[in-house]
Amino acid sequence: MADTVIELSSVSKRYRLRGGGWYVTSIKDELGRLSARLLGRELPPREEFWALRDVSFSLKRGDTLGLIGRNGAGKSTLLKVLSRVTVPTTGSFVTNGRLGSLIEIGAGFHPDLTGRENIFLNGSIMGMTRREVQRKFDQIVAFSEVERFIDTPIKHYSSGMQMRLGFAVAAHTDPDILLIDEILAVGDASFQAKCLNKLTELKAQDKTIILVSHNLTNITEQCKIVLWIDGGTVRMIGDPDSVVDAYLEHVAADMSAEESHHDTPSGRASSSLSILDVTIADEGARPQNGFDREDTVAIEIAYTAAGAVPGAVFGISIHDLHGHDLGGLLTDPDVITVTSPVERGVLRLTLSPLLFNKGVYTIDVHVFDPGTKRYYDLRRRAARLTVNGQSAGSRESTGYIHYPHQWERVK
């Protein structure tokens, strides 16, 4: 097919591990192996690790592919193979057109050279001719916003300035295929907006883009296809919503498979009060994990107390899958008190209506003394909450929270 710009067929990549290092050997090691082989002794096995296994997919011109997966799943290795930095152990791949990468932008910078010199250096490393750099020089400088310091050695630049310069060069290489690794996670807000706009511009120009990001919202918004890679193999490839959903489901299931993390804070006042378990239930007190937006959710916290613990405050906090705190709620110690020993007490917190958008959330539960700021107990990821609903592309709110709201035209 003429329109196919990337085609991978069963690409695998093997790394060898040795003595903790990545296949860096010394002559001594190799002589040892050689003599062992000559003497017919058994060779110490080389540890192997398949970073990619049997990866196949193809992209057409103008496709935007999102690459998701956990750390170490093989995303970076796949990008390295695609950018020809490393060669697959088996399998083959074909790319059609000039390839640009926004992986570790500014990798070719030399700290002692000025911004101007580095633009030329980095530009030619990215495959531009000097004349091409010359032609785009002003655009690059304007985009990077470092005009005033263009003749200063870049070792005096802030890291933000270096990054902007790196991105500016990379974004002007005019590639047909662009590999982007976590670019949107860095830089200040206005620069991120600039990067996103550049991305949209490139998509409008029918460039083929491969985007790696941990930000799943970005992935669903920017990509036409999503590839979920797990343990070096393609777990799923298809439309963004269904792949991201399956991925989230998997991550959440994995999380609950791990025992919920029971912290024993060092600053613990006493073991007189501890959390036993946490359950999530619906209106009818039936335990359940999946909800729709605007449902009623009950969080039940079971605890045990060895004696009276006046002033203890219970609290929950809700997190996204990256661990970002989305907000929490605390008890009022004047209303909820532990006045006598109790073997199993239960608190219920009702959220009504549930205002979260589609996604998977985890809940931390803790109990502490507000006076001394010491924890009696703290349970991370004590419970999981899955919210179903409209996918990112079609819903009327973005991010995590769906505010009760009303739009109207007043004039």
Partner: protein
């Protein structure tokens, strides 16, 4: 081989960029700057003149010993710096190699070209010395260019091999200074080629640098053509070595990013 040459042409701008980076970065924040290109061969010349000429009375084919030594030292210094720079070129550009694809041999070419600048600077002093010692240049001196081309090819071949080996075996980095020192004494830098006994000569000439260094001296100072059979052997060894070395390099190149 054809692939390598095509890469050079296609990536000539990249090579130029690397050369500029190497030269500019080398002399940033130095007080003496480009004068360092003179200091190395010049100080060697002074030491050699003292040790080999004044103390040990090594013959020098009737040429004033300082000119005799310097004529070889500038080219040897170029060679030796190219080998040490080229050998570590992959590892010292490791960050780049791990992140971005470009034909890796461009780094070796850049080291060689940057070294040519030093050679040029050192040659200016050499011309001054020729005038001072009243050595007249003849047209035969134009042989310098083919000799230099041969020497550059050899250095390219050697560094293709050593730089690829250095990526996998850092032992190379430790052994190299010793090797270069031994190599210099196996080359007529401090002494004339004439002192080599006849029975040893065939083996001695297997060192491609021997005929090259002797060649410079003959064409520049003595005004006679190089010894052609010796030079032909040198060229043959160089071409075979470089051909094999490049094949090894292109193969090893595939895993540089994984190993560095």
């Amino acid at each position: 081989m054809r692939e390598v040459i095509a890469n050079m042409i296609q990536h000539r701008d990249l090579i130029v960029s690397f050369v500029r980076r190497d030269i500019k970065a080398r002399y940033k924040q130095t007080a003496l700057g480009v004068a360092w290109s003179l200091i190395q061969p010049l100080s060697m010349m002074i030491v050699f003149t003292l040790v080999f000429s004044v103390f040990a009375k090594v013959p020098s084919d009737g040429i004033p010993y300082p000119v005799f030594a310097y004529s070889a030292l500038i080219f040897w210094t170029f060679f030796s710096n190219a080998i040490s720079g080229g050998t570590v070129a992959m590892v010292s550009n490791g960050v780049l190699i791990r992140k971005i694809y470009f034909p890796r041999e461009t780094l070796l070419v850049a080291v060689l070209l940057a070294g040519l600048l030093d050679l040029t600077v050192a040659s200016l002093l050499f011309i001054g010395m020729l005038v001072y010692y009243k050595v007249a240049l003849t047209l035969t001196a134009l042989w310098v260019f083919p000799l230099l081309l041969l020497q550059i090819t050899l250095a390219f071949g050697v560094t293709s091999l050593t730089s690829a080996a250095h990526v996998n075996f850092r032992d190379i980095g430790h052994g190299l200074p010793l090797l270069l020192q031994l190599w210099m004494f196996a080359t007529p830098v401090a002494y004339p080629i004439g002192v080599i006994p006849d029975w040893l000569r065939p083996f001695y000439l297997l060192n491609p640098m021997a005929a090259i260094i002797d060649g410079y001296r003959r064409v520049v100072i003595l005004g006679v053509a190089p010894e052609l059979p010796a030079l032909a052997l040198s060229a043959a060894v160089t071409i075979v070595l470089t051909y094999v070395a490049l094949a090894v390099f292109k193969r090893a190149e595939r895993t540089f990013a994984d190993v560095i």
